[in-house]
């Protein structure tokens, strides 16, 4: 948690001073540190219950995001039609992004269905 906060603060600072390479280095250093520190933790911190909770949370987030995105996209497209091209463009971008997300979900679903004997 402390490491993540420190890396995030450093990335924010590097963006502020307009030095993108520093943020890339910071993220890389963070990944290496997490990998090295992970080996030092003896007790179990992630088990099947945590995985199951993570799966359910991901599925719920996907469902909520997909519905909200569609609703917002439709509103933006309606508002933008004949008025603001920016709204319309933003609406279509959001709609296509949501379609891509759902397509990715379908591909992942098929993959795991085959993997687990579907």
């Amino acid at each position: 948690m402390i490491l993540t906060t420190a890396i995030a603060a450093f990335v924010g600072w590097s963006i502020r001073i307009r030095n993108a390479s520093l943020s890339i280095v910071a993220v890389f250093v963070g990944i290496v540190l997490v990998y090295l520190l992970k080996g030092k933790v003896k007790e179990v911190i992630v088990d099947e219950r945590v995985h199951r909770i993570s799966e359910m949370a991901s599925k719920t987030a996907l469902q909520i995001f997909a519905w909200l995105s569609v609703a917002v996209a439709i509103i933006l497209i309606i508002l933008g039609t004949g008025n603001s091209a920016n709204f319309e463009q933003a609406g279509y971008t959001l709609a296509y992004a949501t379609c891509a997300l759902l397509a990715l979900y379908s591909i992942s679903y098929k993959y795991y269905e085959k993997r687990y004997g579907g």
Partner: protein, 71 residues
């Protein structure tokens, strides 16, 4: 699914943390199972039964047996 995990843990004089370490899960998972909020996977259920050296049915009670078994 109800279980007798707390009973077997007490019979073996183990804390939740100690049991969690022995079977390779977090203490929170043990707490959740004892409260009946989380049903373990088949693999974990077998690991727990093997740890206590009992049959899996001695610890975990399928739903139709909960109403038949007053214990």
């Amino acid at each position: 699914m109800k279980n007798r995990l707390k009973v077997y843990r007490a019979m073996n004089d183990l804390t939740q943390q100690a049991l969690a370490e022995r079977i390779g899960v977090t203490r929170q998972t043990i707490i959740s199972m004892e409260r009946g909020k989380y049903d373990p996977s088949l693999g974990l259920a077998f690991r727990i039964a093997r740890f206590f050296q009992v049959n899996i049915e001695d610890i975990f009670l399928p739903e139709q047996e909960e109403s038949n078994n007053p214990h």
